[in-house]
């Protein structure tokens, strides 16, 4: 097992280098740069000299290979540098947002898991009944409805309903406070994006749970368990559900990693100062340093999540563990 873990850890290095090469050179294919945007954004007359000073200051006037070497060296020595837009250390900028994105991802995962596993199991067990159809309709709707649209509807709904009921329109807070500072404020802000994203997330996981469980329920060992007179509850919980969880765990893991960096639009809808919003801003501002750091962070999250999923496989399936 330790050999396996070591092998997987070593495999992360070429993955990260490959991602680094891609993001570095792709970013530079986009026309324009941060200094042009910063100085002349309002149609203002600015001397070319001022733009050149800015480029020199940020180091984007250096040869591209020197910049690349600098970036990779910085990444592997954990020195991501400063944001080209705000001038603040990238680790500080990301650290601020990471906390919020992590909380939303965890809350959405809880929402999704709490909904998906029971609904998926019920749907499989009660296959082709009205209950199954209802769950399938619910989950297909979840896949079809974009999270950001649902988010917009939630905010508008809250504004309209509260105004109708109390005369005063209410919407979730638009500035973040950590849960240990103000739990009510924190939850009243983050529960809505967690529901909006968790619903779509749960829909995917519900479909996966249903189909995986249906497959397992047709296995010989389930028939054997039933034949030897085991109670149906034990057959489902101990033998079927646990074994059908492998693909579900994969989906949950990948979705979690996606939520960490991919809530680009939903974060904007709820004005969440998370990694997704930072991502959009850094691309819009041509902040190469920040975009590169964020892409590498997301790649790292995906790589680590996949690694953890593989470890979970081993825990769930003894055949993998023993091999």
């Amino acid at each position: 097992m330790s050999k396996y873990i070591l092998k997987r850890v070593l495999l992360m290095i070429p993955t990260l280098i490959g991602a680094g090469i891609l993001v570095f050179f792709l970013m530079r294919l986009i026309p324009g740069d941060v200094c042009e945007l910063r100085f002349a954004g309002t149609g203002l007359y600015v001397d070319q000299e001022q733009i050149d000073i800015c480029r020199k200051d940020l180091g984007i006037d250096r040869p591209i290979l020197v910049q690349f070497a600098d970036f990779m060296f910085g990444f592997f020595t954990f020195d991501l540098g400063d944001s080209m837009w705000s001038g603040k250390p990238i680790t500080e900028e990301i650290g601020l947002r990471f906390q919020l994105s992590l909380q939303v991802a965890i809350m959405a995962t809880i929402v999704a898991t709490v909904i998906a596993i029971p609904l998926g199991a019920i749907s499989a067990i009660k296959q082709d009944t009205w209950l199954d159809y209802a769950v399938r309709a619910f989950s297909i709707a979840g896949i079809a409805i974009p999270s950001f649209w649902l988010g917009i509807m939630i905010i508008l709904g809250l504004l309209i309903v509260t105004q109708e009921m109390t005369g005063i329109p209410w919407m979730p807070p638009i500035e973040y406070k950590p849960i240990w500072v103000d739990p009510v404020h924190n939850i009243s802000q983050l529960i809505w994006p967690a529901v909006a994203t968790g619903y779509r997330y749960s829909a995917v996981a519900t479909r996966m749970t249903r189909s995986a469980l249906l497959e397992v329920l047709r296995e010989d060992y389930i028939r054997t368990a039933r034949a030897k007179g085991l109670v149906e509850k034990i057959v489902i919980n101990r033998h079927a559900l646990k074994n059908s969880m492998l693909p579900v765990v994969t989906i949950i893991g990948i979705e979690f990693a996606f939520l960490m960096g991919g809530l680009v639009v939903t974060e904007q809808v709820f004005n969440l100062n998370g990694l997704g919003k930072l991502f959009v801003e850094s691309v819009t501002n041509h902040d190469y340093a920040m975009t590169q750091a964020l892409v590498m962070l997301v790649v790292l999250i995906f790589v680590i999540t996949n690694f953890l999923i593989d470890l979970a496989y081993a825990w769930l399936d003894p055949r993998i563990r023993y091999s």
Binding site: G32, G41, D47, G87, E92, R97, N271, N285
Partner: protein, 536 residues
Amino acid sequence: MLKQTGRLALAAAVGLGLAAGAGAAKAQTPKSGGVLNFVVGSNIPSFDGHQETTFGMIHPIRPFYSLIIRVNPQNPSDPTDFECDLCVGDVPEPTEGGTKYTFKLKQGVKFHDGTPFTSADAKATMDKIVFPPEGVPSARKAFFRAVESITTPDDHTIVFKLKFPTASFIPALATPFNFIYSKKDLDEHGYEWHKANVNGTGPFKFVQYQPGAFVEGVKYDGYHFEGRPYLDGFKAIAAPKMAVRLQAIRGDRAAIEFRGFPPKARDDLVKALGDKITVQESDWNCVLLATPNQKSKPFDDKRVRQALTLSIDRWGGSKYLSQIAIVKTVGGVIFPNHPLAATKEELLKLKGYYEDTEASRAEAKKLLADAGHSDLKINFSNRGVDQPYKVVGTWLVDQWRKVGIDTQQRVQPSGPFYDTLRKKKDFDVSADFNCQSVINPIADMTKFLGSAGNNYADFEDPELEAIYAKIEKEGDKDTLRKLVRDYETRALSDEASGIITLWWYKINPYRSYVKGWKIAPSHYLAQHLDQVWLDK
């Protein structure tokens, strides 16, 4: 006057209690206390006003600083009304044939860290802006090219000596980005320090900045305007999405957004909240242009450029586009409310400004035929921002289609759009804009010169340059006005090297409990907030 009457008519017609324009506000005794939450649709690059150009910095940071002079916050819609901020008395008149400005500075003013303010601070600051050392960025250095020297005869006097008399100096000095820094900070911490640190003499003291989230300020008790500020503090909350800003005001998470909303957003807020919302509207010192690239044939032919401007129905566009976009006013090269701006009668003489659109378009077709380009095709570059670029861009495509011009609109995000406009120049006609803070017509009109760094039409017009050279140094108002008309006629009509579409229109709906804030013709102005109070 006409504009104000129109506003009042609108308010009366909709019956929604809109306070349309500053003049309509009732005088009330300000109340002290409360924290103003407002939303900002952009992020802060750095805190250094001298090198930044965005309202994303001005809105949250301006309240921490003072200027030598500023636009009068009680009358910000008047483009010629300035008042002393750190100087004493009235804004001084120039001496020595208009080449010397002497400002007496306030005594007893202190920076937020307790350092006394003297003329040395004002000089160190203005030197940084006007004569920056090599390698130090200064975004508005070009505004002060008339300045020859800055001296301080004593601790409370600063003197600006100009190379030649110019009407552009006072507006340039009142630019809200000219934050006065402490010389001690500049000497001890260097020129980079203010990018991430704040120490001013403004009405509010810096409390904290959470990147991407908010900036918080608290009342400065030692502020140099007695009894102000009225607010206990403010919080500027970053909200890049317009829908969030709108909903934040509706849900009272924020009281105001200072940049402006499109008409539909105003109507939605007023419909939802009635008299809990107040609306102020104003012409906006931003103009949207269509710039023909004269290096791209046949746009080097003035007949083709004239055809482009003649095919645009500006009066009709104003009527209809103002219902869906943040543009409204038909104007020439000068901000429409300024004494130097063209009157309607003067505008009607320019090509493309005729009221008879059919005649105008017939002339456009004839010019295209004469130039041998009746089947003209245009590669039109536009910026991927809805308000007002995409809305007006789509309208332009339709206007040009009406004289047989086939337009291919290429919409790109801001970065690539600027790259196309400034470097690649692979466009026939591009959307372009001129968006300034203090109305400074002599400086703002340089946009139309071929030699200007922010003119992307790629042409030379010595005659236009010669007219501008006279304008820059003309002291007599009547002669100046005549010269401006000559300049305007040449740029917009005779040569059509610049094509103005419409001037922007600023609409600010906000919570009615916010008092004391008067709309300015720019989203950069009147943002120090010392005059704002809450009637809760």
